[in-house]
Symmetry: C2
Amino acid sequence: MNKREFIKYSSYLIGGTYMGGNTALTIPSFAEMTGGKKQKGKLVLRYKPYTLQLKHTFTLATSSRTTTPVVLTEIEYDGIRGFGEASMPPYLGESHESVMKFLSLLNLSQFSDPFLLVDILDYVDKVMPGNYAAKASVDIALHDLIGKLVKEPFYRLFGLNPDKAPLTSFTIGLDSPEVIKQKVAEAEPYKILKVKLGRDNDREMVEVIRSITDKPLCVDVNQGWKDRGMALEMAVWLKEKGIMFLEQPMPKEMKDDIAWLTERSPLPVIGDEAIQNAKDIMDNKDVYSGINIKLMKCGGINAAMKMINVARALGMKVMIGCMTETSCAVTAAAQLAPLVDWCDLDGNLLIANDPFDGLKIVVGRVTLPERPGIGVKYMYY
Amino acid sequence: MNKREFIKYSSYLIGGTYMGGNTALTIPSFAEMTGGKKQKGKLVLRYKPYTLQLKHTFTLATSSRTTTPVVLTEIEYDGIRGFGEASMPPYLGESHESVMKFLSLLNLSQFSDPFLLVDILDYVDKVMPGNYAAKASVDIALHDLIGKLVKEPFYRLFGLNPDKAPLTSFTIGLDSPEVIKQKVAEAEPYKILKVKLGRDNDREMVEVIRSITDKPLCVDVNQGWKDRGMALEMAVWLKEKGIMFLEQPMPKEMKDDIAWLTERSPLPVIGDEAIQNAKDIMDNKDVYSGINIKLMKCGGINAAMKMINVARALGMKVMIGCMTETSCAVTAAAQLAPLVDWCDLDGNLLIANDPFDGLKIVVGRVTLPERPGIGVKYMYY
């Protein structure tokens, strides 16, 4: 028995249902999932690996890639299906293999009521430590399912006004000046740009963008700077260039240096890699001015809401971001957009093979779908 | 124009609807409220003062009383009504007059969608500072309304399992040994008792209770002790007597002394009067082991959920309590019971004229109604 057969076999044994399919860059055949065993009055989990093709090679301070592996999930209950997704950028340690394995270990058919969300997520959380993207894929599918069962978009169940979603930024990866210019042009519908820095040509990148647009800009260093004095100099220079905030300027382990920078920086300093969950916010409350929440880091919408509550009680700024992922996970994150200061929800726009229709960016602002649940529509049923 | 006419007049002008009625110890004539102007597609707020008659004179370390003023509210939207309540124990500074005035200032008819809960509560919060019981009465009615609109109990919209509600305690006020004995007998269905201490006969009170029952007991001092050395001695003695935790042992201003006590106490020390909102939790994270959340202190269910998330991120214990109030506000608080360590939800059992049917205590445990919204039924329609 090879690994795939083993996974398939295991999942049948313990209640998960392997959806079949492969990782090719094709339309994901969700239809195949219907092969899963329906069980009246029970939750049925199905999942399938999928590979996102990026429109542009995506370059960060520490890595470069043209694809992102994701796993698409669905949870079915009495004929209603909630959609979810795990996205696994390689530097975070999860993969097709790890997510498929994690999901194969879950036995959701032990639950006969999707509204027991907290119990279900507690169970999922305890199956193995880590695996936050895999856990998020269950959390998202459950929220989608619950919203569909009560026939309301989930942001409404949170009591949120979709018109309060802030402007969202579009991310420009590290690249040659020519490609940067092309990306800035593509980002026309966005009112805010985000540029990835952290290499040796940071000032040049900013100058290139500033030569073609004076849109508000934010900067994500992805831990790329190592010297706090240089970081402060850059912060002062970036402030002059109309930059709004500075994200994860230095390695998360350099807490004292980042705290030193935050105290002196004319720009708010946002923690991203350093901030996975609510406890991390507490531990870093004097290190950063704000936090970047991503469903794939924290394990889903439920955990993200807790993080927002904690950050606000500490008077911290909050942004919600995403990985390169389909409209499914991006639209799930957007359910919380009305509660945050900044959105960075462009992951779906960086890919060429999005199988979902979800949020739209209208005049730079997240526009949430009015469909129930997280509001995405699978395009190929 | 006398004050009542003025209030009535003002409320007509700005969109609130005064419900008429008086403060007598009669069945509250909710029916009168239907006199309020229905407005299709708009929220209509109605309210009415009511006076709760206590079964026993209720004595705390600092006060004694036989009644509690409350205001009953309802928010109607397209023929569906959500119920709410403000309870105003006199030592907290709110009254019939202040709550009626606050509610008369609200113009909820500016809102055409009850699901915009966060916007509506933000608006209510900004009308005047303080007035948390008045604000809670709006929060509760909105949650009830939303749950009824989607036809689900609100605890299910929070993803909570009602079977996870912990044991709830029954409160024995300060009294003569004979009355204490009678109250302990009345508390038969409860598995945990809570005794109010803070006068000069604390040990006697505990001994009286221990002479008739060995049920787990918790102690609420309501800021009654002034000396930390004596407080620690009592904590050690109470531990020997099988007490579970110690609530607000000293005045909330004595933070250093309480922190000193908490560090040494064999019992968890819970903050009540000191903890009104999420920021207070942050400010007291090194002072108490846990917090007591009450809807009338924090302004309602929405604020209470935030407090739970913050306290949990700090690793603090959480209890949810109540004032003397009807089954309406108690059952509203109980929606959150599955998330807490201890419940102290007995306020409705201390009164003789509860107009609502709501949660039940079954074998010492909160049993939540399966009705939608907060799940209470007004008894006199």
